[in-house]
Symmetry: C2
């Protein structure tokens, strides 16, 4: 499998996690964290509503799970696959964990912090710059988010 | 007690937490989260080393503890007292939790994200702006951090 095939496979896995989020009535964002050898260390979907925890974004959950598994605060050489451009919280956490790379699907002009707003990795206060690449499976990830919010708006609040 | 006296009392409590962090060989940052009535919901110090968790900043720990205690993902009307200017991760988490106010002690030109770098609350991608005020007990908080890093540099790595 080429690097690109592997990236696609991991992003499809992150999309499957995002689909599970939507079923659980969570904003459909999924993430997979993989080490340098291609081993999946953690996968998760957004759990903000379920856990009633505003920090329970998919990226935070996989970073925390993988550091707990590794027994180390840093994850050098690891790649984060996530279906939406990370926010400032998650981009900073990825930097603190020394992730090598972030591959995200859909861009997030409203809340993203890689290409938008804070552009965290371009700041002089960022001391570890993850290589970030967007656009892989962006259509599928974006469609899932649009469908979720459209359905939310069309039904009464629970 | 005036608002200002109360702020000072809470910041001294955050400083006490920071001192406990230094004793535990953690970067000395402490935080206290208080509700609109002045009730302390959570207090914590940085636990990155102890927990081997790069997200275990004092601010994240009090936000997570207080939302768990409240059983709610948002903490309207609450104030976060913290001894160091929050980073991008913690500033974003405070925004997601809908905190009303952040009172911090020392500014952090190297990693802060309120006055420096991403200036999170000034970004168009920030959808809830916590009122942020720096400088209270800044001398004491800054001295504690300087002493900690000076001691770190002067002894062999463990």
């Amino acid at each position: 499998m080429t690097g690109s095939d592997f990236d696609s496979e991991m992003m499809r896995r992150a999309l499957a996690a995002a689909r599970a989020a939507a079923v659980a009535d969570e904003v459909p964002v999924g993430a997979v964290l993989v080490d340098a050898a291609g081993l999946v260390l953690a996968e998760a979907h957004n759990r903000v509503e379920t856990d009633r925890d505003p920090t329970a974004h998919a990226e935070m959950l996989v970073i925390r799970a993988a550091t707990a598994r590794a027994g180390a605060k840093r994850l050098p050489g690891c790649t984060l696959y996530v279906t939406l451009e990370p926010c400032a919280m998650c981009a900073a956490a990825a930097s603190f964990a020394r992730l090598a790379r972030i591959v995200f699907a859909a861009a997030d002009p409203k809340g993203g912090a890689v290409l938008h707003g804070p552009r965290f990795f371009a700041q002089p206060t960022c001391h570890w710059r993850c290589v970030a690449e967007g656009g892989l499976e962006a259509e599928a990830a974006g469609a899932m988010l649009r469908d979720f919010f459209r359905a939310k708006r069309s039904r009464p609040a629970s």
